[in-house]
Symmetry: C3
């Protein structure tokens, strides 16, 4: 691995407690060369779906060989398994709770093991595997230990049952799967879906909770200030937004809200 | 540029979404030596004035040659321009929306260009220039490309119309331009203003919303716990505060609230 | 000190203001090799006890020789003193307001000085010692200046009066001293206390605000979802929690709430 290997952290620990820093201390103690980058520690507590979306959208932009450590892990200390994986050129260390789902959709799984070899983490607490299990294992990988040495290949791994858009007569009906900090409503309908279904995406109209949002706009600033619009966002997904406002508040909408596309 | 060039990030992206990490991934992919430092990602959404204050107060303390990338950018994807600038010994890459205003007041603009040369960022999304335009451009600069190669010098650039203090009879009337996380009310009146106007600043009295705050104190702890006071803060500005409390709540005040100085 | 010395920052500055970044700028200007790691900037404003808990739980995991700079400092600019200390193998630079208390309980104080030698920080503001005093002093230490050169050994230092658990008949009565972001209630009763008092910890029962929580569980997931439980947490402390929920909200409890242990 590179002279200064890059490791990212994605947790639901928040930033006011000592938990994230304890993980970083362990990482630096065991791999002083590591460059640590935070993806986020503000995933809503125990929200594996939000973690899965953020992981896929952030991790794939990192240099090849980056190790991404995910501790959104409501099952800590139970018999839930820990996975180490290579997807595309990125490495992952994460609980087997479905948080890998969207990465695995976006990049081929090149290698996957269930971590068995936890002898190196003797005396781990049962409630803080981030510090006592994930960080030491991550340091091993950063120090050059091959992924395959951590355990055997599993028969399967857990995937989230993320809803898929459905055809309904002339319409495609999807739903919001993520709300970002700007209040933008990110749906499960991708631009690829739109292009596959309709010959002329320019004629597609979007609606949400009975509000007609018109055709897909290029960017937020093309709608009047405070007005609703729909666009293809930077994740390649259909998104409902308000120019300089919060669509989730304007529409009183959230994860699960229906988003409809029809050809006009 | 230095062997390990320093780049800072200042955005209104918040820290729960994948956006900041995606920018960092692109930066590290294109300039593996870069040292990334967060200024803040918690600028209130679309609040260019707050971004301008934070940028000026933070950036000028960094080592010469540091590149500061600012993405407080409500006009993303529209025809708003992107600027690259050298102010004093610091480098800046930011939208031309006025966020440079207070840096330009504090340090001379040594160089300024409008970014035209965006060929290196083909396929950019229209909604996430932080990842697709600013980060690749920043990597170019960090890798040693001279600022001047990014585009031509503009005739002008946008500046925020920040209110200035005014004389009103015997008084100087300013207003709050920033409220910090402690609830301190930072005004547009500087210590320099005070020294210019009055021979003996020790005799100056401050009032806010009809409350007499007395003369300028040295520090918070010189007022009784829970009491209002005024002082010259670490930005060199007149600030209204409460010792161990929140002036913005005690006074129900915020950006735009009048702050008055008179000689007693 | 190491070629790339590690320095951590722990403050109550929050992350939306320029204050943390200004400190980092000064640090990097005076010690370009420094590796800066955030412990937290989200300690509740002026909450020295919370700072003390977080400092102890995070700092002791870092590599030997790491310097931990703490600016939870409501007395900034008054005559409160600044301490530099070595506890165990870690170095600390912090206000003498008790924030060292829990570190000093966990690791022996190997060296302790009151900072007198502040000639290197001429022109410091009275309200932002983080930037103008702590950061320059930290850079001195990171650049190899021995701690002992910063000032003389004090006769004493301030310690927080943290409540200790008390025996009450058959029971041990402690109280909550920290509430984490998951809403977990961390008490002042340690696993060591439990082992010292009772021969068979498996028979100990925990109660809080009249609610019987049963015996100590191994981890959160061993209780039904949404149910209260008690466990020994990763700090080695008795903690009251809710599996995938917030104990502080379920019990309407906080710092100071009684936690009782009895043998069943």
């Amino acid at each position: 691995m590179a002279r200064q290997p890059v490791v990212t952290l994605l947790t639901d620990f928040g930033t006011s407690d000592p938990y994230v820093a304890a993980m970083k201390g362990v990482l630096l103690s065991r791999c002083p060369r590591a460059r640590i980058v935070d993806i986020s520690h503000d995933i809503p507590a125990h929200n594996v779906l939000a973690g899965a979306v953020v992981l896929a959208e952030a991790s794939l932009h990192f240099p090849p060989g980056t190790l991404h450590v995910v501790v959104v892990d409501p099952g800590v200390g139970t018999d839930r398994r820990i996975l180490a994986a290579q997807c595309g050129e990125q490495l992952y260390l994460l609980p087997d709770n479905g948080v890998i789902t969207m990465v695995a959709e976006a990049a081929p799984i090149e290698a996957l093991v269930v971590v068995r070899n936890t002898d190196l983490v003797g005396g781990a607490s049962m409630t803080f595997h981030g510090r006592d299990v994930f960080a030491p294992l991550a340091a091993e990988l950063l120090n050059g230990r091959p992924l395959e040495q951590l355990g055997p290949q599993p028969d399967s791994y857990r995937q989230l049952e993320v809803p898929v858009p459905v055809r309904s007569g002339e319409a495609v009906v999807g739903q919001v799967i993520y709300v970002d900090q700007f209040g933008n409503l990110v749906s499960n309908i991708t631009w690829q879906d739109v292009e596959t279904i309709w010959r002329d995406p320019a004629t597609v109209r979007v609606s949400c909770l009975g509000r007609d949002l018109g055709s897909l706009q290029g960017t937020y600033g093309f709608a009047p200030r405070g007005e609703l619009l729909a666009l293809v966002n930077s994740m390649g997904r259909i998104e409902v937004a308000v120019n300089r406002g919060r669509a989730c508040d304007v529409l009183d909408a959230g994860v699960g809200t229906e988003v409809r596309l029809v050809q006009s």
